[in-house]
Amino acid sequence: MSKGRFGIHGGQYIPETLMNAMLELEEAYNRYKDDPEFNKELQDMYNEYAGRPSHLYYAERMTKDLGGAKIYLKREDLNHTGSHKINNVIGQMLLAKRMGKTRIIAETGAGQHGVATATVAAMMGMECEVYMGKEDCERQALNVYRMRLLGAKVHPVESGTATLKDAVSETFREWTARIEDTHYVLGSVMGPYPFPEMVRDFQSVISKEIKEQMLEKEGRLPDAVIACVGGGSNAIGAFYNFIEDKKVRLIGCEAAGRGIDTFETAATLNTGKVGIFHGMKSYFCQDEYGQIAPVYSISAGLDYPGIGPEHAYLHDIGRAEYVAVTDDEAVEAFEYLSRTEGIIPAIESAHAVAYAMKIAKDMKKDEIIVINISGRGDKDCAAIARYRGENLYE
């Protein structure tokens, strides 16, 4: 097997033109990942710029209302730029700087990764271009403006379904055309090696903190950690340091869209099969001839036909469970958390909240659930209002 495998998944299925760039990145990452100076700079930026550690908040009203397990929220929504995406962006940008790159390109779905990338690029004085599906540009117009405000150039992608998968394809195409001075800050635990491993390592700060905070607050580990999964970066970040703790249930919530028995879904592990795409072997939503499916979810950030290879592996070996949550359930959870705890979650994170609501009441009162609130929901308010029939535009 080639490098970067998780069971049968992963690998480096990319054009020859990019292979040396991938080797260069691998070399740089291996050189710096255990470098004390690099890690000090990373930690300083996490603390001083991103606002880490993020809080582990006891959701008392939600716990009482559901009447079962004790619920904690990992508040990644409180990070600078409003989501977990900045954890990975800071790491990759520090690496890119050391590699002598001066220009950054990135894909974005909901705009959270694009905004995080544009933000750190502004802070580090690097040129930044973001590729975003045209449909997503319309769904998330405010984020497009934020990226421009931060000095990034936003390219609407019109090819294919004009959503996240096409933005990823287009960013890879752009990288193939200009490699020398450019680093692609891939936003999820997907794509060719070393991205799935590197992005996971940068995101694993989430579970490292959860573990410390949980031991401090409760003196024990949680019974379940729940996170939403598109490509899977916030989920792997929340799971990683618990993988060896076999008693901790790890639950990934995929976007079922209008339901896993419809074509309007993005639930990869629930409806897809193994394939090769976007540089990796993993599960993908596809037809019988391997044509990638035009997936759908109300959440632009989960609207992706694949899943990171490490999740595919955790699924294969049964270490993590992957469930499907519909648009309706996610919207209800979005409203519920806003009303009950005064926290408006990203519609992506609301998928995890929805599943926690489903299982919490059947769990014992001394059991503990941690929900990763991967992002804040301000960006989604207009879309959810429209979903509820209100004529609200940003």
Binding site: G11, M19, R173, A177, I179, I276, F277, Y289, G290, I292
Partner: protein, 256 residues
């Protein structure tokens, strides 16, 4: 051993690419026959894929047109079987890993052999991942064609040593599509290949005019043209085969 070597026995080779089923499989069939008549030495048949990440807009759109017509991998096999009744020159598939993987590598290669395909070009299978398919390719006598790029540098030796059929030299950075200028030192790339193995080298990506083709043919054993041909399908639809035939003749004359 595949029949690909025959493509390089008639002077410098001209290798046209066409996306199968753009706009119909009947058009593709006619176009292939016209291309053979016009002097094409080997034909690259693109099996459409929904997300062709190595292609520029021209071939991306061809894939969309073909898939809109519900062209499947099985339909393409049937078309090649029909074509093989008359077409003598080597034909290879150009497609993406998932098309083969989802079909089943063994079943795919077996069908290739049966219908008379000689090899395949898979832009998302680099040297490091070729074991995904090369065992099955070897079993059915098909060449898994290696690509080298302007960024390959010291990788060229390793790739060339294990290359089969011919080596596809990618002329420029970026995706497929017409370019006005090709600045890569193709001669140096080809030289590095030949130092390792006596295997034909064909240059592709960005070539569209007879002048460019003539220039590239000085450094390599063949010239590959894709987007410029696909543009005829976009412009003329079902009437494209005649136009493509005229163009191929002009290009073959230029490289000869």
């Amino acid at each position: 051993m595949s029949n690909i070597y025959k493509a390089f026995e008639n002077g410098k080779a001209f290798i046209p690419f066409i996306t199968c089923g753009d706009p119909t499989l009947e058009t593709t069939k006619q176009a292939v026959m016209e291309m053979e008549k016009a002097g094409a030495d080997l034909i690259e048949l693109g099996i459409p894929f929904s997300d062709p990440t190595a292609e520029g807009p021209v071939i991306q759109e061809a894939n969309i047109r073909a898939l809109k017509n519900k062209v499947t991998t099985d339909d393409v096999f049937d078309m090649v079987k029909e074509l093989r009744k008359t077409v003598k020159i080597p034909m290879v598939f150009m497609t993406y890993a998932n098309v083969i993987f989802s079909y089943g590598a063994e079943k795919f290669m077996k069908n290739c052999k049966e219908v008379g395909i000689d090899g395949m070009i898979l832009p998302d299978i680099p040297f490091e991942e070729k074991k995904e398919f090369n065992q099955m390719c070897e079993k059915y006598g098909l060449a898994l064609i290696s690509m080298i790029a302007p960024t390959s540098e010291e990788r060229i030796g390793m790739i060339a040593k294990e290359a089969n059929g011919f080596v596809y030299c990618v002329s420029s950075l970026g995706v497929t599509g017409v370019r006005t200028n090709i600045t890569t030192d193709i001669g140096a790339m080809v030289k590095k290949v030949k130092e390792q193995k006596d295997i034909p080298c064909a240059v592709g990506f960005g070539i569209s005019t007879p002048e460019q083709a003539k220039k590239m043919a000085q450094y390599a054993d063949g010239v590959i043209v894709g987007s410029a041909i696909v543009k005829f399908c976009a412009a003329y639809g079902e009437n494209a085969p005649m136009e493509i035939g005229k163009y191929v003749k002009e290009m073959k004359d230029a490289v000869s």
